[in-house]
Symmetry: C2
Subunit: 109 residues, 2 copies
DNA sequence: ATAGTTTATTGTATTATTGCAATATTACGA
DNA sequence: TCGTAATATTGCAATAATACAATAAACTAT
């Protein structure tokens, strides 16, 4: 077929995969890093910052917004984006839990 | 076009995105969780475990192997897979660094 | 009102991903 | 050697993601 069979997996597995997918493009990583660096609402700068077309940038912003990790607010003619701290922490905790030290054997295969 | 413009971004940004992409499917999350739970080389079980076709499972294993996060070794007629502890730690550290506490403002937008 | 600015949406082309059947490959055992 | 078992690969179809031009929508300023 071609569509992911989400019903075969647990909600947690689908959630982690969805979070990872939100991060699975360098432009979205760049956007998040920029917002974290500024640690403020950013209006407009992002298109110039990335080097991608305005439409493409807008699309990546939309995906990050759908994933919940950023939020936007209308500020006059422009729209300002910033990290959603609550969701950011959720991401951190989920990935932390996933990668938590499990005393992996050094010699395995 | 349709192809990711990797040249617009830093190596670090591309690396993080590539790692996230390796995790961006619930089947691959399930595989990793299973290998971590077993904390050993696993031979054969995975196809039954996942519920996907053998060919599909093999393909996901291949992607994880290319990403470096698992390794396989031939064990007679079957192939055994396990976590690559070194790369696992790299993933953990990179995501940790990315999500590190940055004292995000609670009230932003 | 009108022109300019900023962001979102739509349409379309291209590439990537997902999934499975069929086949190939490799190793083992009788 | 021949048949069986376990993985990998190939070929194909369907879906998703990436990118951008063109356009729309919403606000500003003159």
């Amino acid at each position: 077929m071609g569509a992911t069979k989400t019903d075969l997996f647990t909600k947690q597995q689908n959630d982690i995969a969805a979070m990872a997918k939100a991060l699975a493009h360098p432009a979205r990583i760049a956007i998040l890093q920029y917002l974290v660096k500024k640690n403020a609402c950013v209006c407009g700068d992002l298109v110039d910052e990335l080097g991608l077309a305005q439409a493409t940038t807008s699309q990546h912003l939309k995906e990050l917004k759908i994933a919940g990790i950023i939020q936007g607010s209308i500020e006059g003619a422009s729209v300002c984006y910033c990290i959603n701290p609550k969701v950011w922490k959720q991401y951190r905790e989920l990935f932390n839990a996933f990668f938590q030290d499990v005393d992996l054997k050094d010699k395995c295969c």
